[in-house]
């Protein structure tokens, strides 16, 4: 009798623990169902729309996100560099390459919860395309560092994990058909402060 009760308890514990835990894990993973990966960048083009998958729907309900609409823009998040190493705030990076067609885009450095990091200085950890210096072939190179750099400089300081959020506004790539042949800039790691 006791043995049967224990077995039932085991069954229920596995069901509830694994079932609930797997949902929690799936909702916290940065990549997930419905994600589109281009190099180190991840986007969820369907998030916040009625035809989003159940995982995206649960994610917006839990996080209280009001996702950007298709006519507004599309946000890409990078959590690792082009070589697959996690981004760190104490390291310098170079974001270089071609940016897809958009009216303008913004790039900011974010913490775990994707809020912009507080630099403690007047300069925010954010850049946008209207203030960008470009190469003659229309590509651009952005230095991410805690020390000032010539050209385009994105200030990032402090320690801990780092995310880059690159958002394109009023862009044709927000329609999923346009996403197939999009190239995004690469992220190359530089020196790190010990």
């Amino acid at each position: 009798m006791l043995k049967n009760a224990l077995l039932t308890l085991l069954t229920v514990a596995i069901a509830v623990g694994l079932g609930g835990g797997s949902v929690w894990y799936a909702l916290h993973a940065q990549s997930g169902v419905g994600a589109i990966r281009i190099g180190p960048w991840t986007a969820f083009p369907d998030i916040g729309t009625p035809n989003a998958d159940p995982y995206s729907q649960a994610r917006i309900a839990r996080e209280g996100v009001l996702a950007l609409g298709r006519a507004e823009g599309l946000a890409f998040v990078a959590e690792s560099d082009s070589a697959g190493r996690k981004l760190r705030r104490e390291c310098a990076y170079t974001i270089a390459g071609e940016f897809p067609t958009a009216r303008f885009w913004t790039l900011y450095a974010a913490d775990q919860s994707l809020d912009v990091i507080a630099t403690g200085k007047a300069r925010p950890a954010a850049l946008h395309s209207y203030e960008l210096l470009r190469q003659t072939d229309n590509s651009a190179s952005i230095s991410v560092s805690s020390r000032p750099a010539p050209g385009n400089w994105l200030l990032v300081n402090g320690t801990g994990t780092l995310y880059f959020v690159l958002t394109f506004y009023d862009t044709p790539i927000a329609n999923s058909t346009g996403l197939s042949d999009v190239t995004l800039p690469g992220i190359v790691k530089g020196r790190c402060d010990a």
Partner: protein
């Protein structure tokens, strides 16, 4: 021993069911969704800023740091809702969300007459009434027809640098969100 393996297998099977059930129930039972958070912060038809500049922790998950944003909740059962904002800013966009946070419709300043923000959200039934006799107030409005009851409208505006902050502040603080009823 066989009983234990049987119990574990049954547990794994149950875990699958629980996974699906929890996943599908999360949107309905979440008390942390955008609507609930906004309801705690302000009333229906009250334009509320929710960017970092507005002071206090952001009500809804923060937007782009180079953007300011304002939002208001509405209920189409009370009538249509008209959203306007004065002045010109480098870029603005409007999104209409259903109560569950789904983006129903979005547009930006390129869609508007002369770049002026003036939009009316209404149900298809209300649209029929409006078509019969277009009120003069709505001559330049963008109509968003959506079969939702309660909803959220969000206005986002781009702030290229600090010198634009006063202009964008004026734009968003002057934004209105008014319920409208057609008189018979």
């Amino acid at each position: 021993m066989r009983k234990v393996i049987y119990a574990v297998l049954l547990g794994l099977f149950g875990a699958g069911i629980v996974h699906i059930a929890v996943l599908l129930l999360v949107p309905d039972f979440s008390e942390r969704d955008a609507w609930s958070r906004l309801a705690m912060a302000s009333d229906l038809y009250r334009m509320t800023r929710f960017d970092a500049e507005a002071g206090g922790p952001p009500v809804v998950k923060s937007v782009d740091p180079l953007f300011f944003a304002a939002t208001c909740r509405f209920d189409l059962n009370d009538g249509m809702v008209q959203v306007t904002a004065p002045g010109q800013v480098p870029f603005w966009s409007v999104s209409i969300y259903a109560r569950n946070g789904h983006n129903i419709y979005s547009f930006n300043d390129r869609s508007a007459t002369g770049g002026k923000l003036d939009t009316v959200v209404l149900t298809p039934a209300q649209m029929i009434e409006v078509r019969k006799q277009l009120p003069e107030d709505y001559a330049g409005s963008i109509f968003v027809e959506s079969p939702i009851g309660e909803g959220i409208v969000v206005v986002r505006a781009f702030v290229p640098d600090a010198s634009w902050k006063p202009t964008v502040d004026r734009f968003l603080n002057g934004a209105t969100c008014d319920p409208e009823t057609l008189e018979d």
